[in-house]
Symmetry: C2
Amino acid sequence: MTNIRDLAKMAGVSVTTVSRVLNNHPYVSEEKRNTVLAAIKESNYQPNINAIHLSMGKTFLVGVVVPFIDHPYFALLIKGMAMEALENNYKLVLFQSNYEEARELDALQMLKQKQIDALIICSRICGWSTIEEFTRYGSIVLCEDTRGKNVSSTYVDHYKTFIFALQYLYQKGHRKIGYSIGRKSGSNSKFRGKAFKDFVKDYLLPHEPAYIFEDCLYFEDGERVITQIQKMADPPTALLITSDEVAAGIVTCAQQQNISIPSDLAIIGFNNQPIAKMMNITTIEIPLVEMGRKLFLQGIAESQVIYQEIPVTLIERNTV
Amino acid sequence: MTNIRDLAKMAGVSVTTVSRVLNNHPYVSEEKRNTVLAAIKESNYQPNINAIHLSMGKTFLVGVVVPFIDHPYFALLIKGMAMEALENNYKLVLFQSNYEEARELDALQMLKQKQIDALIICSRICGWSTIEEFTRYGSIVLCEDTRGKNVSSTYVDHYKTFIFALQYLYQKGHRKIGYSIGRKSGSNSKFRGKAFKDFVKDYLLPHEPAYIFEDCLYFEDGERVITQIQKMADPPTALLITSDEVAAGIVTCAQQQNISIPSDLAIIGFNNQPIAKMMNITTIEIPLVEMGRKLFLQGIAESQVIYQEIPVTLIERNTV
DNA sequence: TTGTACGCGTTATCAG
DNA sequence: CTGATAACGCGTACAA
């Protein structure tokens, strides 16, 4: 592997001059520049990027923590980040945490060790204090409402959104409403849970724990929801389903079980994934790819803490 | 940021000694070791990993090229790689190529520049000669049949598999058989195309171009397949669908259009994704997560070229 | 058992 | 315009 010093020798100039032409810096005569360029061609020179990183104290690497990539929600966020990373000449380092705290700490460590310039955490299990402790080592960005906290974020106001969706169902005449979530302990889920509680209280509806379905992430989880509902003496008439994948599973399974949608059961999905369009599912659009882009840009921005709320849109189709 | 030299000064020893305790090397007295350890604690020392990489000529980073992450096929491969990377203390660098050659070259460049130790290309658009040119800069692994070539791979013999599936349909009485693929130009697709051609020739069946559906990647693409079939005067009676997602879309859409499956149209999906189980789709299981693991291990292995064929299994359910 | 000195490849500073 | 030379932080022959 030929290095910058070899080039200097070949071209009969100093390493400084070589570095100058390499980085398109001014103050180098056309003549010498050409000699160096020739040497570069001839030697098939490739800069060692680790040396550059060491010298610059920067890696152009951004870490991304997701519990798993094989879910449209995270896949779409990453897709957006990858697009933006590309345009800004950064690369993405993937951390699949599987919601193990040790994995999240790994990522945080890499930030501390300067192997990545920034870290984007899409979903976390670790406590807030842990995050806070690492903020001084580099840029950390979260995908949840961090208002009032010392960390930038791009987020959806899930409280507001849930209230809005619940009111919509209420107006359509529904009084027995339930919802599904991915996992109950997440930050976003907590906002949703609180919204639900507040809503049923305000509208004098019963708070029926059986109407809340946890661990609903994939298409096939829809089957479980339908199964459970069929066992109920007094089933819900409408459901907020926080992933279109799951909503699609519910609709599919309902058809098989001769449950009529929306007359027996109304469904509102989330994200407006393509599958929702094809299956005519009423859904709340969340621009995940766009969110991914913004998360990334916040990560590489030098600026101060910013909270970026993303607006959502109700897409009315045939399941309500 | 305190470095190894500061520690040496603090502990009153040399940098070598510090380095020794840092890396658990022998030949350092318990006494000095403790002094150093104390200094590390006190100073909140963190090694700069870029310096280590420069010094060692290794990064513990492995690159992964996929056209897009938001597809179960690639997501599952990556999932497997991420799991294995975790166990081996490596990190994954994600390259979303979108099938643009320039993106693949970016990744290849990083290998050349030593920013990644190995590169796994799950699907490519670039020519074989391009790959070959970069093999000397580091370990490259492909997810396609590379037998006879100079690059390791973990692959499914899609020719064999397609012939097998076609024969199965033939035995079930089907004579008008078609198939769908993601993109026609891929290596895997070519093997499938060849298998199809050879099969219809051997079995004296007509080679009907309209029975071949391209660009079928997502659930919603199933709708297009059904639409096109309905327009045909002489539609196929059976379809090989190279992604369960698409198969599920076809089944769903067929229901809506009152096309009976399998009596009007038989379907064999691929991958055995959870959605196939839930919708009772006959499918060919491909252990994608397992393949991801093996791809990764081949990437970090020092050994010579290895071709690792992955066996597949037919899962008989209700769509044939 | 310990330490000196150099190499890794590049960028940045500063004197000419 | 040009070029020594000093960082950057760490690993490791080699010498003691």
